[in-house]
C-alpha cells in the first residue's frame, strides 16, 4: 500500500479497471482473511456500505435544522440536549449519546473541526468529505478560520466573533445556522432544502430562497 497508489486509485479505480492496485489487493486479502476467520460477514459489509451510500447523509441534519427553525420548543430542546432531541426524530442511523448543537447568531459564527483525526457527526451529516479529513483544514481551522472561509468563498463581517470547536473527544458537534431571510411561512420540508452540509459544519451558509427558486 505505497502512498503513490492513492492518485492511481483516486482517478482510475471505479470497479471496472483491469489492473488491481496494491491497495485493492491488500484490502481484498484483509477482507478474505477476516471472513474466513469468522470475524466478519461479507453480506453485512455490503449493507454497511449501502447504509452510508444511500441512507445516512446531510439530509438527516437538514431535517434537524429545518425543524429547529420552525419549532421554538424543538430548538430549545436541541440546544439543551441535541442527542435527546434528535433521537425523537427517528433517523436511519440512530444518534449516540454525545451530540451537541451550537447556534450561529448575527454576532457569532461557529465552525467544527477535528485537528487530531476526523471526528464528525456521522449520524446527522453522513461520512465527512475528504477536505474535512485533510491537512489543510485540520491545520488551519483553529488558527486562521477566516482564511479557511476565504478558501471556500465565505466572507464574514470583521466584527463577527468566530468560535471553533475542536472535536478532541467523543462529543460531536453540529452547527445550527441562521435561518435565511425571506422564508416566513415556509414548511419544514421546504426549509430543509436550504440547509447545506457545509452550513452545518460552519464552512458554509444556508442557501437563500433565490438559490432554490
Amino acid at each position: 500500500m505505497a502512498p503513490h497508489d492513492h492518485d492511481h486509485d483516486h482517478h482510475h479505480d471505479h470497479g471496472h479497471g483491469s489492473e488491481l492496485s496494491e491497495t485493492q489487493l491488500r484490502v481484498r486479502a484483509l477482507e478474505t482473511v477476516l471472513t474466513e476467520k469468522g470475524y466478519v460477514d461479507p453480506a453485512a459489509l455490503d449493507l454497511i456500505i449501502e447504509t452510508y451510500e444511500t441512507k445516512v447523509g446531510p439530509h438527516n441534519g437538514a431535517r434537524v435544522v429545518a425543524k429547529a427553525w420552525s419549532d421554538p420548543a424543538f430548538k430549545r430542546a436541541l440546544l439543551e440536549d441535541a442527542s435527546a432531541a434528535v433521537r425523537t426524530m427517528g433517523h436511519e442511523s440512530r444518534v449516540g449519546d454525545h451530540l451537541v448543537a451550537v447556534e450561529n447568531t448575527p454576532q457569532l459564527h461557529n465552525m467544527i473541526v477535528c485537528t487530531l483525526c476526523s471526528c464528525y457527526p456521522w449520524e446527522v451529516l453522513g461520512l465527512p468529505p475528504v477536505w474535512y479529513k485533510s491537512a489543510p483544514y485540520r491545520s488551519r481551522a483553529v488558527k486562521d478560520p477566516r482564511g479557511v472561509l476565504a478558501d471556500v468563498g465565505i466572507k464574514l463581517s470583521k466584527d463577527t466573533q468566530i468560535r471553533v470547536w475542536d472535536s478532541t473527544a467523543e462529543t460531536r458537534f453540529i452547527v445550527l445556522p441562521m435561518r435565511p431571510a425571506g422564508t416566513d411561512g415556509w414548511s419544514e420540508e421546504r426549509l430543509a432544502q436550504l440547509v447545506t452540509r457545509d452550513s452545518m459544519i460552519g464552512t458554509g451558509l444556508p442557501k437563500t430562497p433565490e438559490e432554490v427558486a
Binding site: 500500500m1 502512498p3 497508489d5 492513492h6 486509485d9 483516486h10 479505480d13 471505479h14 491497495t23 485493492q24 489487493l25 491488500r26 484490502v27 481484498r28 486479502a29 484483509l30 477482507e31 478474505t32 482473511v33 477476516l34 474466513e36 476467520k37 470475524y39 466478519v40 460477514d41 453485512a44 459489509l45 454497511i48 447504509t51 452510508y52 447523509g57 442511523s93 440512530r94 444518534v95 449519546d97 451537541v100 485537528t115 487530531l116 483525526c117 476526523s118 475528504v130 477536505w131 485533510s134 489543510p136 483544514y137 491545520s139 483553529v142 488558527k143 486562521d144 477566516r146 470583521k158 468566530i162 468560535r163 471553533v164 475542536d166 478532541t168 473527544a169 467523543e170 462529543t171 457545509d198
Partner: protein, 218 residues
C-alpha cells in the same frame, strides 16, 4: 504522541479544496475498509482509540501521503496482527491458515441497524467532577509517547471550562489497554491570543474537549 497527526496550527499545507458532488467513496475498496472497520469494532476486536493510535504510529511520510482509507487499512492490519487475530503470513497469503480466535459478537445483516448505532462513551464516575462551568483551568504540558487527545497547540494554556459532558472512557488509557479509566470530560475554551500570541485574530475563540487529567486549576 507528538506525531504529524496533531496538525492544529501547522502552516504550509495549502488551501482547503472542496470537491463538487463528492461521492461517499472514491473507489470500491474504500467502502470495504470502512465496513471492515465497523464490523471489527462491533465484534470488540479493538477500540476506536486503538485504531487512532495505530494510525498515529504510521511513519510520518506515510501518514502524510497515504489517503484516508489507506491509513485505516494500514492501522487495521497492524491491530489484526498485534492482537493475534491473524498472522502476517495469512495477510500475505490472502487466506486464513489457522482458525480464528473467539470474539465478543459478530455483525450480521439482521442486526445491521443496531450494529451501526453509535455506542455510548459514558462511564460510571469514580469521583465528583473537579471543575464546573466558569472555572479557569490550565492544560498540562504533557508529552506522552503514547496516544493522547490533548493537542499540542493547547498544552500549557489557560482557558475557561464551558461545558461538562459527564464522565467518559479515557482514550489515553483505552489506547494502551489499561481499561476505561473513566474521567470527567469538559469543553474548555481559549482566547485566540492565549494560543497563537499577540498577532492572533482577536475575534477568534477555540475550544477543545479536555479530560480531567489534562487540567489543573489556574
Amino acid at each position: 504522541m507528538d506525531g504529524v497527526h496533531d496538525m492544529g496550527g501547522m502552516d504550509g499545507f495549502g488551501k482547503v479544496e472542496p470537491e463538487p458532488n463528492e461521492p461517499p467513496f472514491h473507489a470500491r475498496w474504500e467502502g470495504r475498509v470502512l465496513a471492515l472497520q465497523r464490523s471489527m469494532g462491533y465484534a470488540g476486536a479493538w477500540h476506536i482509540d486503538n485504531s487512532r493510535a495505530a494510525q498515529e504510529l504510521l511513519p510520518p511520510p506515510v501518514y502524510l501521503t497515504a489517503s484516508y482509507y489507506q491509513r485505516w487499512a494500514l492501522a487495521m492490519e497492524r491491530n489484526v496482527i498485534e492482537r493475534g487475530l491473524a498472522g502476517p503470513d495469512e495477510l500475505a497469503a490472502g487466506h486464513a491458515l489457522r482458525p480464528g480466535k473467539p470474539l465478543k459478537r459478530k455483525l450480521t445483516p439482521e442486526i445491521i441497524k443496531e450494529g451501526l448505532t453509535r455506542g455510548s462513551f459514558y462511564r460510571q464516575a469514580q469521583a465528583p467532577a473537579r471543575f464546573k462551568p466558569g472555572d479557569r483551568v490550565r492544560t498540562r504540558n504533557i508529552h506522552p509517547p503514547t496516544h493522547t487527545r490533548l493537542p499540542r497547540y493547547a498544552r500549557g494554556r489557560v482557558g475557561t471550562v464551558e461545558l461538562v459532558h459527564g464522565c467518559h472512557a479515557f482514550p489515553d488509557a483505552v489506547a494502551t489497554d489499561r481499561g476505561d479509566d473513566p474521567q470527567w470530560l469538559y469543553t474548555v475554551v481559549f482566547e485566540s491570543r492565549e494560543l497563537w500570541g499577540a498577532d492572533a485574530d482577536p475575534t477568534l475563540k477555540v475550544s477543545i474537549d479536555a479530560f480531567e487529567p489534562y487540567l489543573d486549576p489556574a
